[in-house]
């Protein structure tokens, strides 16, 4: 499954107002959650199917049946990936916000092309508004937490397909 196909699924969930959609194949699982109450773009999350590699990137490096896995190069944790999906994690514990304030447009949506340095979200702790920036240029392919959801240190926030 490539990014285009994933985007089509995201749009399907959004267009039909579906609560969600889940696809499971050998080695990987894709879940897309609709967010109709917030009138926001659907949030899609991808979960590892292989419990033996909890420190691995968002998608399993060894998933023979899944085309998505071809985009992933493993790399040591924290190093980022030179090819494929690059995962951005929370640098502090806090509350995840997709926009600067409740009336503002989200900083980014799934499918947006972002330049390195672009603000992706805010993680707030103790009235510290911590702007998280894209550390590579590419396409946003996943936004993991819901808006205003608490996130832990190191929790996955975004997946970006490097340009």
């Amino acid at each position: 499954m490539n990014v285009k196909e994933i985007k089509e699924l995201v749009e399907l969930v959004s267009r039909r107002g579906l609560a969600g959609l889940e696809i499971e194949r050998a080695g990987f699982r894709l879940r897309i959650e609709g967010a109709p109450a917030q009138r926001a773009a659907p949030v899609f999350t991808q979960a590892l199917a292989d419990p033996a590699t909890p420190e691995a990137p968002a998608l399993p490096p060894a998933a023979p049946a899944a085309a998505v896995a071809q985009h992933v190069s493993p790399g040591p944790p924290g190093s980022g990936e030179r090819e494929g999906f690059h995962v951005i994690t929370a640098p502090i514990v806090g509350t995840f916000y997709r926009a600067a304030n409740p009336d503002a447009e989200p900083f980014v949506k799934v499918g947006d092309v972002v330049e390195k340095g672009k603000t992706l979200c805010i993680v707030e702790a103790m009235k510290l508004m911590n702007e998280i920036e894209a550390d590579i240029s590419g396409t946003v392919v996943a936004i993991y937490p819901q808006n205003a959801q608490p996130v832990e240190f190191g929790e996955k926030l975004f997946a970006i397909q490097q340009r």
Binding site: T95, G117, K127, L128, M129, N130
Partner: protein, 261 residues
């Protein structure tokens, strides 16, 4: 140059290198963030800089909440390097403690902190702090500490504007000599003329307790993004997070507004 006056009357600072004084601006934090970008683009070096506005027209608080400007309020933003490691997340509470201590000393007041860093006198809001921060992919970071401080405004003025929960230095009974001219600004800059991240190396639970508006055992409610948590105040953690005893046990709260206390 004729027509240009130095509002700070030539005074100098030990830590602050630049003071930018604006008669009026929408938001000193936004100006500060633009200056940071320029500094990093041109020199890759942050210089301790303060932006001062006599009038801030669209200042904002947490999540874009508006900060109602008073006719004579000070808005100041300080650009500081973001301390590394665990001190990062402690900066907002450390800044609150530094300001509560400094303002109490400068104006002979008892300034208390409502968690995490609202500045209160007699349980009314004298000022607020909003920290906006960012780190690059090398882990280097900067922070802008924005401070709003109500200077003038009698009780009657404040009530007539519907600001029953607000107070000002004037309302708190500060002597008029300390409110004249640039005296309040000068006092505020003195407090900020120190690395805020180092303000009080004391462990946060004890340092916060010394200026806290909440006492152990006080009932309180915290609202965050539509959720409400009620419980009993148990102090703050070593990072400044709120410890609340609830029916489900002790909870640690990292973001939200204390709405009932």
């Amino acid at each position: 140059m004729s027509g240009v006056t130095d509002p700070l009357e030539g005074r100098s600072f030990s830590h602050i290198e630049n003071v930018i004084y604006l008669p009026s601006t929408p938001s000193t934090n936004d100006v500060a963030k633009a200056i940071v970008e320029k500094m990093l683009a041109e020199t890759e070096d942050l210089r301790p800089t303060i932006i001062v506005a006599r009038e801030q027209t669209t200042g904002h608080g947490r999540m874009g909440r508006s900060w109602t400007p008073l006719p004579e309020a000070l808005a100041v933003s300080v650009i500081v390097p973001w301390p590394e490691g665990p001190e990062r997340v402690r900066l907002p509470v450390r800044a609150g403690i530094a300001l509560a201590r400094g303002l109490s000393r400068a104006f002979a007041l008892e300034v208390r902190l409502k968690w995490p860093n609202d500045l209160l006198v007699n349980r009314r809001k004298l000022g607020g702090i909003l920290v906006e921060a960012r780190a690059n992919d090398e882990g280097e970071g900067w922070a802008v500490v924005g401070v709003g401080l109500n200077v003038r405004g009698t009780r009657k003025d404040l009530d007539s504007r519907g600001l029953r929960d607000a107070t000002s230095l004037e309302d708190a009974g500060v002597a008029s000599t300390k409110l004249a001219g640039v005296a309040p600004l000068s006092a505020l800059l003195d407090i900020l003329d120190a690395p805020l991240g180092e303000a009080g190396k004391d462990p946060l639970p004890e340092a916060f307790a010394a200026v806290s508006a909440h006492g152990p055992g006080d009932a309180m409610s915290v609202m965050d993004a539509g959720r409400s948590v009620s419980g009993v105040f148990r102090g703050v953690t070593s990072d400044g997070a709120l410890r609340l005893s609830t029916r489900r046990g002790e909870e640690t709260i990292v973001s939200g507004d204390v709405v009932l206390f």
